[in-house]
Structures are given as C-alpha cells and as structure tokens.
Symmetry: C2
Subunit: 699 residues, 2 copies
C-alpha cells in the first residue's frame, strides 16, 4: 500500500526509519549507563537530562529550525532575549546547575553561551584572577554581575594590531597622582580594542588590559575595570564603541571595537591582586604576577569540553544518516546499500566517534584538575602560604601545558570532525537546516581565540624540548611529562613490533611517549645547530603538542576504565583501540615511521588489517554508541539526524515549513522576466547598427 | 610627527604599508611576465586585465565590502541584477571573452558564476551532451538561451534520496503512445528533485533526468527538456517548485526542489543523441550511451581552474598580511617581527602558494585537452566515424580519470588552503570583511557537487588497481598511466636516496609513480584476499587518486617549463621544489615510508633541512610571487590584503563604513536594560517568598 497520509505516493519511497529502528533494537549495551561514563558520573548525566527537558520546553531557550534562517540582526536580538531569560534561571539555579546548563547551551546555541561567557567567564574570570578577594566580591556579588544584573562586563584585551602578544598591547593607563585616578587612552589606530565580545551593544564595563604608566615609567600590561556605559546604557564620556560587523560565524554576538580618549577611572578600579599602585604612586609588583594569566585557562578548559559536545552532536547526525541513507545496489539485494556499510564511509566517520569518546573523558578530568588547582591557589594566596603557593605554581605549569595542548588539539580536531561529518552527508550536509554550516562557522573561531592554536602548541612544544635537554644533563622530568626521563628509548629500536602490541593500549601509549621523546631530542639537536633558536623547529613543536594531547587523552581514558560499568567496559576498550589506530597512529604515520617507532610493514598492517577489523566490529554497534551521547532532537536541530530516523519526511517538512512554496515568484522576478523577454539588441540600439544604417553611415 | 590627518594619533602606530612596499621594491622577476605563465599565455593575461578593468568600473558587477553584509534575500536579488547585466555583455562579448569573464567572476562572486553556469554549463551542457546537433541548436541558439534570453534552463538530476547514484534516480518519463508524449512524474518524496540550482525562482525549463518507461519496460535514466514556467514566468500545470532555503553558502543561488505530477511533454523533448523513442514506441539504445555523462566533465574541469583562482586570491591576502603584520619583539630590534619571518608561518602558508602555481598550469592543460577532445568527439559522432570514435572513447577515459582526480584533489586542497590562510590571519581572518568565511562557505560545496570527491576518487583508484592486475598478466598500460608498466619497482628498493635526488624534480615524479604502483599492487592483493571486493581498499583508492592528481600537476609543470621566459624559470623551479616536498612528500609521508620509497632518515632531512631551506629562499620573494597573480583589490575584496598594504586603515575604514557607530544603542537595547535594572527576585515574586511570609505560611 502506498502512503497517502502525508506525502502522497504513487510508488514506494525509501524507508530510512526502519533501518535505524532495526539497528537500535539490537543494542548490546545500555546507552544510559554508557552516558554515565561519558558525562563523568550518573549524577551529571541525570542533571543534564533534567536541564535539557526544561530548556526543550522553554519558549525562548529552545532551539528550532528557524534558527538557521535568522539574519545577523535577528540573531543578536534573539540572543539578547535568551540572555534575559537565562538571567532568571541564574537566580534559581544552583552553581552546578548553572554550570551544566551553560555547557549544554554551548552545543546548540554557542553564541548564547559565549555572550554570557564574556561576562561570567572572561570579565569575572579576569577580576578573579587579577583582583583581590574584596575586588572580586564587589564586582561579582555586590554588583550582582554573576546574576547578569546591574552591570554586564566584557573583556578588552586584544587590539587591532595586537592579539597573541599580550605584553605588547599599547593602550595606556597613566596614573594621575594629583587626582588619584588613571587616565585610560588609546594612542593610535593600532591600539583600538578589537573583537571585544559584548562591547558593541551590551557591556557596561570592560576589564581593560593597558600599560601601567607611573611617573613616565612603563610597568607593563595590567588590568583595569573601565565603565563603558551608565545605568541608562548611554556611553560614558571619552568612550567610543563600534560594531565589528560581519563575521564568519557567531552572528548573535555583538563583537565591537573600543577607543578610550583619556577616560578617567578611580585608582581602585585597577585590579590589584598582583600589582598595586599606592596613593603616592609607588608601584608594587609581587613575584606571582605570572599567575595573572590564569584568567585564560578556564576558557581553554571549557573548549575541550565543548569539543566533546560538538563531536557528540555531529557524529550522531552523520552516523544516523549513514545508517538510514542507502545508495547504489550491490548484487541481488533489492534494497540499496546503507552508506555505513561501505568501508570507506566507516573509515571516514567512525574514528571521529571514537575521538569524541576519548575527548569526553579527558575534558572532565581536565576540568576537575583546574577547579581543584585554582581553588587551592586562591586559598593559598589568601593565606599567603608561600610553600603551598610554590607547589601550586608547578601544578599550574602542568595545567598550562595540558590545557594548551588539549585546547588546540581538540578544537582543531572538532573543526575537522564537523567538516568531515558534513561531507559524509553529501548535499544534505550543505543544507542550512542540518546545522553543519552554522556550527562550523561558529566553531572555528575556537581555534583562534583565547590563545591561537599554533601559538599555544608552540608554548607546549618548547618546554618539552627544553626538558629533554635538562634530562640529558641529569635533571629529572616530573609530573605528566616524566616519561621524558626514559632516554633509553632514544635509539632507533621499534616499540611496536606486532599487531598484538598495538591492540595493547598501554603499548600504544608508550609508543606515543617514545615518539615525543625522539621528536624532542631531534628538535633539540636542530636548535643547537641553529645557535639555540627555537623557532627553527616550530613545526615539530606543533606536532609534539598534538601528541602530548593524545597522550593525555589515552592515558586518562585507560586510568578511568576501571570505573566503568562492566557491561560497557569492553565497548570502551574497543572504541579506544579505534582511536589509538585511526586517530593516533594513522594521522601521525609519517612521524611514527620517520622515528622508527614501528616498521613500515607493521604500519601497512595497521591500515589494511587492523583498522578495517575494528571498524567492522564497531559498525553494528554504531547506533548504540551514538545513542549513548543522549542527544535530544533539540540539541541536534537537524532533520536528517532526528531520533525517529524518518530522514526524508523530517527534512522535507522543515524545508517546506521554513520556505513558503505557495509564493511561486521571487520579489525580484521582474528583473529576470525583463531580461528573458527583452527586445533584440538591434531594437534596443534604436536600429542604429542595422545594415541599412551601415550603408548610410559608411557612404 | 604623529598622524592627524585621518585617525588622530597621540603616539606612532604600526606602519604595515612600509614593509610591503619595501619588499615589493626588491622584486627579482617581472610579475607580469610570470602572470603570462600562470594564465597560460600573454594573450589570456592581457585579456583578463581588460575584462577586470571593465568589471571593476561596472556599477552592478563590481564587488565591494557591502557584499559581506547582505542577507540571503538581498544576495539573491543582487545576483539576479548581475545576471541581467551579464546578459548584455554576452550579446557583445566574443566566445573567448565570455568564457574568461565567467572564470574571473568565479573567484569574486562564485554564486553569480554558478547561477549563470546552471543555464550555460549544466542545462546547455546536458543538451549538447545528450541531444542531437539540431536539438542543441534549437535550445541553445534558436531560443537564444546561450545569451540568457527567452528561456533559462536548470539541471534537474539529483533527487532527495539519490545523489551520486544517477542510475538509481526514480523520477519517471512514461511514453504515452496514444498522445505521442511523455508523462513526467515524481512517484514519492524520495524522488523529489532536490538542490536544483535556479529552480526556485529563475528557471523556465529543466533538463530532467528520468527513467524512460515504454510499454511498462524500464530503459533506465534518460534526459528530457521539461518546461517549468511559461513566458509570464508562471508555473506550468503539474509543476511544483519550492525553495531549498538556508544553505551553508552560495546564498545568491535559488536552489529549489521540483515535483512533477504527471506533466505532459512532447516526445521530441527527449534528448536523443544516444537513446531514441520512435512514434510507435520502439526504443533505440546505441552503444555509445556511456558518453552521455560527458555533460559533467566540463564542470569538473572548471573546478580545477577555480581552485587556482581561489588559491591566488587567498594566498595573496594572507601573505600580504603576513608581511605587513608584526607580532612579538625579538632581541633588540625596535620593531616587532613580521609574521612571515617566523619559520612556522612560512611552513603554514608558502606550500599553498606553491600549490596554487602548480594547479594553474594543470588546470589550463586539462581545459585545453577537454576542449579538443569534446570537439573531436562531436565531429566524429556527427560524421559517424566509428574508428575515430573508438579512439576518442579511450581519450575520454583518460580525461575522465584526470578530471576526476584533479577535481577532487584540487577542490579539497583549495578548501584547506582557504581555511589555513584564514587561520594564519588570526582574528582578522574571522572578520566577514576579509572574505575568508564567505569564500569558504561558498567553496566547500565544490567537494560535493558534480561528483562527490570520495566517489570520484574511488572511480580513479579502481581502474588503476585493475590496470596493475592486467599489467601483471602481460597487458600494457597506456597513456597517462603507462608508468604502471614499470613493475620492476614493485620490490622494496628506495627510489629517493639523497637530498639531491629530491631536488631533482623528475626523481620526485618517479617516486610518485612508484608509490602509486606499490599501493595499487598492495591493494590488488588485499582485494584478492577478499574475494574480489574492491570496496575493502577504498581508503587506498582515495590516496591513489590524490597521488595521480599530483603526478599530473608535477609532470605537466615540468613539461611546460621550457615555455617559460628565462627570467622567471628559476623561480618556477624553486616553487615546484617546495610543492614537491611540502605538499607531496610531506602530506603523504606515511605512505612514502610505508612503501619504502625513501628512508625514514631521508624523510627526516626533508622536513628538518630541505623544506626550511626552500622556505627561506622563497621568503624574500613572496610579494613578488603573490603580485604575479595580478589580483586587483576588487577580486580580493579584503581590506587586510589590499595592494597598498595599509592594513589597519583599510580595515578600520571598511568596518566603520559598514557599521554606523553613531548609533550607540542596539534596536533591542531595552531588553538588556530591563534585565540589568530589574527589581530583586523577591519583589518580582510579590514578596511571597520573604522570611515574613515564610513565618506566616509555615505556621
């Protein structure tokens, strides 16, 4: 019987729903239990569900396909309405609820997340990191900023001519002793604060990075709270702001530029946890100033978690589609083949599924480490416990390396993941309504902001190379890089010698360590040949940083396996094997082979035997693995990826709902009609070029 | 003295203009002469300049920054106005002028190019490829379609449930013998024509792919001209069209969906060069039907040329910026370091510069081969010269392999190039006004349409693997893949044994051949172990296809070097060396090493010595190389990449012009102000949750 209910059929159409539901009915493990592992705990998993239910029903916060049809102005307005709505939740949410709610929002409306994060994460993070406890309490709580009330902060760090080089910023804050105030000034176009999220329309105050000048002496870049708008939201004197305008993505955010023209702020608006200017102009610069950059770590850690969430969203969409979609008949099968039954399609997508599993665990671990370290540091600084501070400064260094390598590596990989998932959905991946385009455009700025990925990666590679130099001189490497002490592996011995070695994940972990070790040593030699210039090996530094991130992800995953429910554990091991081979070994195959960590023959076997075998094992479990991400349709916001699997009806339904096809002519149709029905060229030239005229004019 | 002319300064700002102009004044070769090589000839280079001058002055065709602020509806309207304008040029342009004009437009307004290309390239290409000479003459010339007059064609191939598998399309064309007509029908939702460019608003006719059904028998997919709209642009009976709506990019194109509900068209609207239905319903299917797919080759070849053009645009922008922009001070230098003086920045960008040079030459060569082959084929078919046709069918097979491998490889690389160039410009790359975002979004569909890149790549890998099997049985491989006859290299002997080998580009070419050979043989073995299933090596097929494309690019570049002016030749060799090492050897290092084409030690030297050496040689010549692309500011449409190098003034000027900063409040400001100035929660809860009420209610 043909369908006459919705779309009237005169022969049978495709039935993707059936394929997906059939595979779902064969599940081998409980996706809810798996989700407990993915989200770090049963508690977080259940909290997420509660929050998502609430937001899916919320008339303002819920996502819908219309999101993809909004202009920049409409996106900004909707985002502002959502912020207003969120401010009400923030008055009743617990701290944990607020944190998880924002994390979930980051995947289905990243621009909303960012626009709130500018105030809560960057502005208050800067005040927390650079201000005294009293300063933080005033700006965060007394002023109720942390509830999006009273004031709205932004983070005025980067300038038109300076991004990564914070120490080179050129805005000035000159102490005016006579009036006990700072004069904030933008000396020239290059020092215009640029890209400042929230500045164009929202912010009332800016945490401003400016050079402290006292009595003509430049003390370097410090931070100041500078009011931009009064309580009527009118600009303060001396403040100029403008809109940055069109961006690649995140149109919902009002990024702006700021110029300060000799703006006066009280002396106590300087954030003075580390540096302080007395009434008489005496400058105190305590030795801990290096910790002032801790304001940026929170953002980096969050981006690793965001990488997990965006990976979960897009692998779910692309893999459901790959199961429901069929293309090309094979042999006598009356149905065409499901996309995911093609080995190439498995090879293209399933490694990213595995990657997402590994990032989830690493992200939660990193977040936990950061929370405990920063709390301990705040505590030690408040108590002025110098021994503890010394110990924590070392932990901060490790945290800096881990967060920098993971932020850069996982945001790059997530960008690649979105792109590959989109391509794997063919033309339908290019449709706005399946979310890939907007998500990619919104995402990729993560590779640039809060530490450009290449700059961060070099900041990881450099200390590792330096450490191997110290190890060779007899010093011991400590903490997460203590594997650099194993200099016995600097020879050319192969570490992985058989497929069974590779199936042993602790051996793969060791092979990453050895590769890092050899790369660092080789780089060190090159640097020494170049008179100590590190830049000559910057390309290797980036590779070292990426490998360090994979080392973290794999080792923390192995560490946590024992916590997993025994019913899901084998499937975690299976997915980690795919990650280890298809993401780590294959993507760095040139490096593993150059440094003889395994033989060419074994690498050939990995690619031709082992990876295909793992893919074949994961293939029937795919829907089980993606359902474990527990992504509701609201998060996916992609008709081809919906839970029910009714790809074509869902998708056609959205396209028709968003585009009225009962209007059959475009508003500009007359231009086209005029063109098609135009008179001949000779007529339009008033007959002046006709043969007849030619004979007259050429006589 | 401080600048008080435009932006008032109180201290000296950056001077990027000076850096760029200084490097430009040190040029080592004439960029105009180099452009003659890049554009294939002096004649084309000069024609381009003439056309660009004309378009830069044209009030409708010229690009400007406003382009980046247009909504979807505005883009579509502007594109329609540009089409109307173009129709007037097409009445006076020569064939060559029209062709080159469209090629240039493809880089600064790709959606305009596509929207015209739908009619000229796809619709008329389909009529040319599948129709008789008389049919082509009628639809192209009698109806003046080739001048965008009378009718406007679109190309209705893909369906909602079928893309790559053209043979599986489900729209039907049933012969109605009684009335000597075809009945075109969409049987179900899956057969809805989908993604059809021009259908939503523009097209009057659709070249429709549908299954030919005669007397209940299915003869497979054929092509039919089906009118969609009448001369008043109203829809024909039985035609439903709708708008596809939001897309990742190319918003200026009115992609649509079409449903045919038993639409009647005369029998002679079937395109019948190959298949024909007589008045009595007799179906003739001549053996040459395989040639009907030649309609798609033109688009693929064009995309290789587009890859060159987009590469020229974005390497110019990113490299000029990298020369003007400074970041971080080194040592005692009073100025910060130019970005391009960092080895990592050179490593990130200069290989794409080299790639663009290689693609240009390959693209023009491929275009020339296609033009001559298709013309010869048309001629032979018209004369029914079976001997010549047989020979040309073989040439078509080579053309198919070359165009498929080059289309997929170069469109992927161009996407990567745009993305990497964007990242190398940091935050300013993310600005809409520097063009990267829109260009990327517009570009990436090239990896999917007119042959999905992975599907195309497999269609290249498969025959190469099959050929090596035949060679091993004693047959000879011919034409561009005759290197597969060199089975003596199937052993594990290294081909490149020293750095000087690698500096000899003919040796690198040989090494690519040997790698392809070994990969094909290894894949063949795997296929044989898997009972002849080719899909198991599909990942290797993609690699083979990419390598085949690089083989084409490098060999054609070497072939053409002798034509180059002697003053530019050494610089062409230098750039080709960078391409050979950083694009070919490095990107495929895992494969080269797995197949022992060179030793791990030598690969290490390539990365640590040779590539850095080449980069250092190219660094001072960079502005010379990019100026050779002769990209006017209108094509670049990116203030940070303009010729004058005044990065910050140009960029700030565009941002201010596009975003009025004299309006200091957003239209939605009241929502934010209401939030910030809201009463306390207790007040808004009417005091019902106060301690006082608590004591009452809890009594």
């Amino acid at each position: 019987m043909f369908n006459v209910a919705n779309t009237i059929e005169s022969s049978n159409g495709p039935n993707p729903k059936e394929s997906i539901q059939k595979e779902r009915s064969n599940q081998k493990f409980d996706p809810v239990l798996m989700n407990h592992f993915l989200e770090g705990s049963k508690k977080t998993s259940e909290l997420n569900r509660k929050l998502l239910q609430q937001m899916e029903r919320d008339p303002i916060l819920s996502s819908n396909p219309n999101y993809y049809d909004l202009s920049k102005d409409q996106q900004r307005e909707l985002t502002a309405l959502k912020i207003e709505r969120m401010s009400k939740y923030m008055e009743v949410d617990s701290k944990e609820e607020n944190h998880r709610r924002l994390s979930l929002i980051s995947v289905f409306d990243p621009q909303l997340n960012t626009r709130i994060g500018i105030n809560l994460g960057l502005f208050l993070g800067c005040v927390r990191g650079n201000g005294t406890a009293e300063q933080f309490n005033f700006w965060a709580n007394t002023k109720e900023t942390s509830k999006l009330k009273g004031i709205y902060g932004c983070f005025a760090m980067t300038e038109l001519a300076h991004g990564s080089n914070v120490a080179g910023l050129e805005t000035t804050a000159t102490y005016d002793k006579e009036n006990d105030q700072f004069i904030i000034n933008t000396p020239h176009i290059g020092a215009t604060k640029w890209w400042i999220g929230g500045a164009a329309h929202s912010a009332t105050h800016a945490a401003t990075y400016a050079r402290l000048i006292v009595d003509g002496k430049d003390y370097g870049v410090k931070t100041f709270v500078v009011p931009l708008r009064d309580s009527n939201h009118n600009l303060m004197p001396g403040i100029t702001v403008g809109d940055i305008g069109a961006k690649m993505g995140r149109d919902g955010i009002d990024n702006g530029w700021i110029q300060y023209s000799n703006v006066k702020v009280p002396r106590f608006f300087m954030l003075q946890k580390f540096a302080k200017v007395s009434r008489e102009g005496e400058v105190t610069l305590p030795p801990l100033e290096q910790l002032s950059y801790s304001a940026l770590i929170g953002g980096r850690v969050t981006m690793v978690l965001d990488s997990y969430r965006v990976g979960a969203r897009f692998t779910t969409i692309a893999l459901r589609y790959a199961i429901g979609r069929r293309q090309f008949k094979q042999g006598k099968n009356p149905l065409e083949t499901q996309l995911l039954d093609y080995p190439l399609h498995q090879r293209r997508l399933l490694p990213y599924l595995a990657l997402t599993y590994l990032i989830s665990n690493g992200a939660f671990k990193l977040e936990h480490t950061m929370d405990t370290t920063l709390d301990a540091l705040d505590d030690a600084v408040n108590k002025n416990d110098m021994v503890k501070i010394g110990k924590l400064v070392n932990e901060m260094k490790t945290l800096f390396i881990d967060s920098a390598s993971l932020k850069s590596t996982s945001t790059w990989l997530a960008a690649e993941l979105i792109d590959q998932c989109r391509q794997a959905c063919g033309g339908h991946g290019y449709s706005g309504y399946n979310g890939f385009g907007k998500a990619y455009n919104d995402w990729v700025v993560q590779c640039t902001w809060e530490g450009d990925n290449n700059v961060l990666a070099m900041s990881v590679g450099k200390p590792l190379i330096r450490t191997i130099g110290e190890v060779l001189k007899g010093k011991k490497a400590k903490g997460s890089i203590s594997f650099l002490n194993n200099t016995q592996y600097l020879n050319e011995e192969a570490i992985l010698t058989s497929v069974s070695d590779i199936e042993d994940l602790s051996m793969v972990l060791k092979s990453i360590e050895v590769l890092i070790l050899r790369l660092c040593k080789d780089s060190l030699d090159t640097i020494q040949e170049s008179n100590g210039v590190y830049e000559v090996v910057s390309n290797a530094m980036v590779t070292i940083s990426k490998l360090k991130a994979h080392h973290y992800l794999l080792s923390e995953f192995l560490n946590r396996l024992s916590e997993a429910d025994s019913s899901v554990k084998p499937y975690l091991v299976l997915i980690a094997k795919l990650y280890a081979t298809a993401i780590v070994l294959d993507k760095f195959s040139g490096d593993f082979l150059t440094y003889s960590v395994l033989s060419p023959k074994l690498m050939g076997e990995v690619n031709q035997k082992l990876i295909p075998k793992l893919l074949a094992e994961i293939r029937p479990l795919t829907i089980n693995y993606t359902d474990s991400f527990q992504q509701p349709d609201m998060i996916l916001n992609a008709p081809i990826g919906k839970f029910n699997g009714d790809i074509y009806e869902n998708y056609f339904g959205v396209v028709k709902a968003q585009n009225n096809h009962f209007h059959t002519k475009a508003p500009y149709s007359s231009a086209l009609e005029g063109m098609l029905n135009r008179p001949s060229l000779n007529d339009r030239q008033r007959g002046e070029t006709s043969d007849e005229v030619a004979s007259i004019l050429s006589k």
